[in-house]
């Protein structure tokens, strides 16, 4: 039974990674850049909940809505100020700018909140569920339910709506999409907005699961989620979901059965192995270069 409960908490952790990985993969697919500041949006989202609930005394629901709104505005603003002027610059300049934005957000949080970790409010008050011998944490169930709903919603949005189709068109051939009358700027703005909203939700679940948030909290899940996106095939939306969930499960099972200290090494080892066998990731598209 402990295997099953480890698996479920792995799935729950993995679906948080998947939410963050979706932001990486969508931005990569559409804006063709690696937004390394994405992980820090999680931290900003979590801190917003802390401030709203602990300091301002707002109800948890309002805190969550506020956190999503702030992250969306911040993500779109970062894109406008830091990335948009570099749209036609070499990818390396954009990458370095993204790292710069990441440090900027971390330092800002350090100035405002200090270096000690703040405790995350109890936004979910669900009791653990007992199924026979199996005990499932309330947070795990809530995380799984919400992330599954979000992923289904996102898949429908991408496949069914006009904006979703425009996003797929831009990710396949930006210039051709633009000549079909699709505004690339608008599409990129929407992508950053969605990515940041997903990150803020991830921040919420991350805070609820671990209980403490500090200025650097976002960087490790951010990097893991980036790994998950590459693992699943960067640019592919189902790939990010699959990669995130697998990564979480592997990490949790490695912690439970092999070694807590080695769990990260095992996760990255699996990544190296997958990329050796399938360089484009699990669901990555094959690039046919015509000669």
């Amino acid at each position: 039974m402990s295997f099953l409960s480890n698996l479920i908490s792995g799935l729950s952790l993995g679906s948080i990674y998947a939410l963050i990985a979706l932001g990486y993969t969508m931005v990569y697919g559409i804006a063709k850049m690696l937004n390394f500041a994405h992980g820090d949006v999680i931290m900003v989202g979590a801190f917003t909940v802390i401030v709203a609930v602990n300091s301002m005394g707002l109800p948890a629901v309002l805190g969550i809505v506020l956190s999503v709104l702030i992250c969306v505005v911040m993500g779109v603003t970062i894109e406008r100020i830091a990335y948009k002027p570099l749209r036609s610059s070499p990818p390396l300049s954009v990458l370095i700018t993204a790292i710069g934005v990441s440090y900027f957000l971390q330092s800002l949080a350090l100035i405002i909140f200090g270096s000690t970790q703040k405790s995350f409010p109890k936004v979910f008050n669900m009791e653990p569920v007992h199924l026979g011998e199996l005990t499932i944490k309330g947070e795990s169930i809530e995380t799984l339910v919400v992330t599954t709903a979000i992923m289904i919603g996102l898949t429908l949005f991408i496949n069914k709506t006009k904006m979703g189709k425009a996003m797929r068109a831009v990710s396949e051939d930006r210039a051709a999409a633009e000549l079909m009358g699709i505004s690339v700027n608008k599409t990129i703005t929407v992508t950053f907005a969605i990515g940041s909203a997903l990150a803020s939700v991830a921040g919420l679940f991350f805070g609820a699961t671990y209980g403490f948030i500090g200025p650097y909290t976002g960087s490790m899940p951010g990097i893991k989620a980036f790994v998950a996106a590459v693992f699943g095939g960067i640019g592919s939306i189902p790939g990010a979901m699959l990669g995130g969930i697998l990564l979480g499960v592997i990490e949790n099972l490695a912690k439970a059965y092999i070694s807590t200290e080695l769990s990260d090494a095992i996760v990255f080892g699996v990544l190296v192995l997958v990329l050796c066998l399938k360089p484009t990731g699990l669901l990555g598209k094959k690039i046919n270069e015509k000669v």
Binding site: R168, A169, D173, E178
Partner: protein
């Protein structure tokens, strides 16, 4: 896209236009005036003056590297011109982005096919109709508030367009899996779906066999007649160019060296020189 009336500029027709007589009394759909672009120190296109009638089929020919595709890239604002002006339906396109120019009524195909290969044929056409589909985000999520109606209308129009080219049966296929000729046709359908006033075709007959080329010529004529739009095409297949174009521009080293009817072009010594070289002195 709202264009203020004050932005509308009318310039007199250049005397060297190649607009057919029946179009003479109508304003040209596309005009360029002294258009030029430099890449660093290299002048790729220079002093380009064009005027294309609203229902004209116009050919743009020239040896390889003459700057023909660069002209298309200028007309669709993929490149911003270094000099000169472009008037699309009387409106200046200066400073507009590609998607804005598309909304103003210009559509194109590409020399090497650039379909959205992973999407279905139908979705490719619907992408072309992006700016005519007015469904809000909310209504597309809730599937209410006229969403179904708008979707149905778009679907019907897309199907009609595909039908026009005998491709309606292929609508659920993945675009990338179609045979080459069908992909070329689909690119034209997708461009037409943007509801253009002028359609630019970049080497539409490339890689086609003679019977496919004949069908393409027929299709280009039908597009003009049915949709009442102008067509401008870059092509190396002289049978096609001479067969359907009413006016032809010959480009060499980025400048127009000749304009006229197919017969005038065929007899023009400058054109023959550009294509075949100078006659040897006896």
């Amino acid at each position: 896209m709202a264009v203020k009336p004050s932005e509308r500029i009318m310039v007199p027709l250049p005397s060297h236009s190649i607009v057919p007589i029946e179009d003479m009394h109508k304003a040209p759909v596309l005009q360029t005036h002294q258009l030029g672009i430099d890449f660093g120190g290299l002048t790729a296109v220079n002093n380009l003056n064009l005027a294309i009638g609203p229902t004209e089929i116009c050919g743009l020919i020239g040896p390889n590297g003459a700057g023909k595709t660069t002209v298309f890239n200028l007309l669709t604002n993929v490149y911003q011109p270094t000099r000169g002006t472009i008037l699309l339906d009387g409106y200046d396109t200066k400073g507009k982005s590609c998607d804005q120019v598309s909304k103003m009524g210009i559509a194109r195909t590409f020399q090497n096919i650039r379909l959205f290969g992973k999407m279905t044929v139908m979705d490719n056409v619907k992408i072309g109709m992006h700016n005519q589909l007015h469904t809000s985000l909310l209504s597309s999520v809730t599937h209410g508030f006229g969403y179904k109606q708008a979707e149905k209308k778009a679907y019907d129009k897309a199907k009609e367009l595909l039908d026009f080219f005998g491709m309606a049966d292929l609508r659920h296929h993945q675009a990338g899996s179609l045979p080459y000729g069908a992909q070329r046709r689909l690119e034209i359908v997708r461009a037409l779906a943007t509801n253009p006033k002028i359609l630019l075709l970049d080497e539409p007959a490339a890689g086609m066999n003679p019977s496919e080329t004949a069908e393409l010529m027929e299709n280009i004529r039908r597009i003009r007649d049915e949709f009442q739009i102008a067509v401008m095409l870059i092509e190396h297949d002289m049978n096609l160019v001479m067969g359907i174009c009413e006016g032809i521009c010959v480009l060499n080293y980025g400048e127009i060296i000749a304009k006229g009817t197919p017969d005038e072009i065929k007899a023009n010594p400058k054109v023959i020189e550009a294509y075949l070289g100078k006659k040897a002195d006896k």
